[in-house]
């Protein structure tokens, strides 16, 4: 047996070793693979649903017997005015048109002879009748005007000025942000659970004693958070890319730039939110020694996450409201509220900066204080440890 030459590993390399173990263990875990695939499928499903729901809107096929090109033009123009896609299908004679109506190839057929007549299967729908009536009426007026010697009629065009030109784009961004908040919430809960389970597994199997003989508690904590964090980041980026690509492919969004920037904002807030929740979950988990006791200690933090989630959703409908405004600064809540406000486009830069700074400070606090609780609690097994005891044990 040859003698290997051990060297003193740096903090960074210890953290990296722990992180690598987390990644390689988790990536082979069936639960993780299944949850990742399910989330991606849900995203694609949601986009497809959007496509189907969007394409289902009014399209009317109108048959036409007789009449010239002006009738086709008038029908189409009328359709456009009424926000209905009109497709005109011309038939040679009435029997052919009747068959088409009976086969439901078209919704109705306009017999444009001397006396215009609309053939329908049972009864004419509101839009169909409106389109045909409008087109026929317009043509008749034009004919009568021509007959009266008036070729060109000066009709003043109504100018349209949009009061909130961005409304559509805002709406779209808010929908994206809500979508993002749902994903963010799911991933935070999922990875928070992963972290907590990992901490308890190390405690209940006592492997932590062996680990702490070679590294400091903070290195272990940092490695776990970082390793799972990379996986989580990979997952949310994958989701973001899939969602953007799917949305662009199926032409669901009108402003791709806005979509991408909103996705980027959600991902950035995910990083901050993850760091905070992961640390809190890990520290809470270190207080118990059995998986069964986990739910109890994670409860308060999970509740905060749930509350943040609902405020985030609420903020979508009232992004400028007092509730959204205040909670978007509060660390822990901000990662789920601020992205929605940012998407709605009603946030000043200083507000975002303030929320980020507060969140970073909170992360620093949790890592410092939580790291001490974690160190004090790791080697104490049996029952649930009080936070104060853990802090005292750390100093002992």
């Amino acid at each position: 047996m040859t003698a290997p030459v051990p060297h003193e590993p740096s903090s960074a390399s210890l953290v990296r070793l722990v992180a690598a173990r987390e990644v390689s263990t988790r990536i082979r875990d069936k639960g993780f693979i299944v949850s990742s695939v399910v989330i991606l499928l849900v995203i694609i499903g949601a986009v497809l649903f959007q496509v189907l729901a969007g394409s289902g809107d009014d399209e009317t096929r109108i048959g036409l017997v007789g009449g010239d090109a002006s009738v086709v033009t008038a029908l189409e123009a009328q359709g456009e005015a009424l926000d209905v896609d009109v497709e005109v299908v011309e038939y040679d004679d009435e029997p052919a048109a009747r068959t088409a109506v009976e086969d439901e190839d078209v919704e109705g057929v306009l017999l444009a002879g001397g006396e215009p007549e609309l053939l329908v299967r049972e009864s004419a729908g509101g839009t169909l009748e409106a389109v045909v009536q409008g087109a026929v009426g317009q043509l008749a007026i034009a004919e009568q005007l021509t007959a009266a010697g008036i070729d060109e009629l000066e009709v003043p065009e109504v100018g349209v000025t949009a009061v909130d030109a961005d409304a559509a784009a805002d709406g779209q961004r808010v929908v994206t942000a809500i979508f993002g908040v749902v994903i963010l919430y799911s991933l935070l809960i999922l990875f928070g659970q992963f972290i907590a389970q990992g901490v308890v597994e190390e405690k209940s199997s006592r492997v932590v004693e062996l680990l702490l003989a070679t590294m400091r508690p903070w290195q272990l904590l940092a490695g776990k958070i970082l390793g799972l964090g990379l996986l989580a980041l990979g997952q949310i980026v994958a989701i973001g890319v899939v969602a953007v690509v799917a949305a662009l492919t199926f032409d669901v969004v009108e402003v791709p730039g806005d979509l991408i920037s909103t996705v980027a904002v959600v991902i950035a807030w995910f990083v901050l939110g993850y760091a905070w929740y992961a640390a809190v979950f890990a520290v809470a988990a270190s207080l118990v020694s059995r998986q069964e006791d986990l739910a109890t200690v994670l409860m308060p933090t999970s509740m905060v996450l749930v509350v943040a989630f609902f405020i985030g959703i609420q903020a979508a409908s009232d992004p400028g409201g007092m509730l959204a405004r205040v909670t978007s600064y509060i660390p822990g809540l901000s990662p789920l509220v601020m992205p929605v406000r940012q998407a709605a486009g009603e946030v000043a830069l200083w507000e975002i900066a303030l929320a980020v700074v507060l969140m970073v400070l909170a992360i620093g606090l949790v890592v410092r204080l939580g790291g001490r609780i974690y160190s004090g609690a790791l080697l104490r097994t049996g029952g649930k440890i009080k936070m104060r005891e853990a802090l005292a044990a750390e100093r002992a």
């Binding site: 040859t2 290997p4 003193e8 062996l210 680990l211 070679t214 080697l379 002992a396």
Partner: protein, 304 residues
């Protein structure tokens, strides 16, 4: 030298260690005995930096053990500890890397040790699928894989069948032959007596005895004399000066002699009763030494 020096530790009101100290020479095995709750685990945890002593320190080669030098210590905790769902080979490799081996060396050392402890075929199985005895072997592999300079093992033999005990003992003796100081705690005193060069007995947070088994015996010996006189009356020794009868049964007599008592006078008295079939200083077993040492300061505790 591995030196445990003046360790004191209290958890709240409870004083667990009150001045524990002993030394272990390189290439020797030290058996650490004591009743449950005597402070053995706390002493070992202090050495591994898992518990901070109130005073005192543990030194290796003259320098206090710190995070860096502890990496050169192989450790087996009392309640064992490995990842249940991690594969055997990967697990041992991981611990080798935590002890500072690079990836290639760690993989090779892991393969070698797993093979050597007879687990080659189980390398790709999850730890929890193995029997407890085999899990214990993996634990040993995790402690030995980084070629430690020092071994500290808390109850390494507990839960092993006799074959497992022998193979672990062989592995430890092999480490000793390579110059590694080995400290292990155990309740199996016959094992300690058989394997260890020196022994420490811990009771109520203090070392009540430390030294080679031979030294401990010598300290106790010179006191107990066994004389078998089949024809003697039951009270034949009652009047001997400086001797107290510990037990007497059909002439098989155990005598506790004062420092000044003359053993030859006892022999003469014995011969006067008739045949003497046995006359020798009693060699106390480690079990007897242990009982004596643990019980000595406060016999009522043992009685209770």
């Amino acid at each position: 030298m591995l030196e445990f020096d003046g360790l004191h530790k209290s958890f709240g009101e409870v004083r667990v260690l009150e001045g524990v100290g002993f030394t272990v020479a390189p290439g020797s095995m030290f058996g650490f005995c004591g009743s449950n709750g005597a402070g053995k685990t706390t002493t070992m945890r202090i050495a591994m930096g898992l518990v901070r002593p109130d005073t005192g320190e543990v030194r290796w080669q003259g320098r206090p053990l710190d995070q860096a030098s502890r990496r050169r210590v192989g450790y087996m905790p009392e309640e064992r500890g490995l990842y249940p769902k991690m594969k055997v080979g990967e697990q041992v490799t991981y611990f080798a890397r935590l002890h500072g081996l690079d990836a290639a060396a760690a993989a090779k050392a892991s393969r070698d040790w797993v093979e050597r402890l007879g687990l080659g075929a189980r390398r790709d199985e999850q730890l929890e699928k193995l029997s407890l005895g085999n899990q214990q072997r993996v634990q040993l592999a995790a402690a030995l894989v980084s070629r430690p300079e020092v071994l500290i093992l808390d109850e390494p033999f507990s839960g092993l069948d006799p074959v497992g005990v022998d193979s672990l003992a062989e592995a430890l003796l092999d480490q000793v032959r390579q110059g590694v100081p080995v400290v292990f705690s155990s309740h199996q005193l016959d094992l300690v007596e058989r394997l260890c060069d020196s022994v420490g007995i811990l009771a109520r947070g203090r070392m009540v005895a430390a030294g080679t088994v031979e030294e401990l015996r010598r300290r106790e010996a010179g006191r107990l004399l066994r004389v078998v006189v089949p024809d003697a009356a039951p009270d034949w020794a009652a009047t001997l000066p400086g001797a107290r009868v510990v037990s007497e049964q059909n002439g098989d007599t155990l005598l506790d002699l004062d420092g000044g008592a003359d053993d030859q006078a006892v022999l003469a008295a014995a011969l006067r009763t008739g045949r003497v079939t046995h006359f020798a200083w009693q060699q106390p077993t480690l079990v007897e030494l242990f009982r004596g040492a643990v019980a000595a300061p406060a016999p009522e505790e043992v009685a209770a």
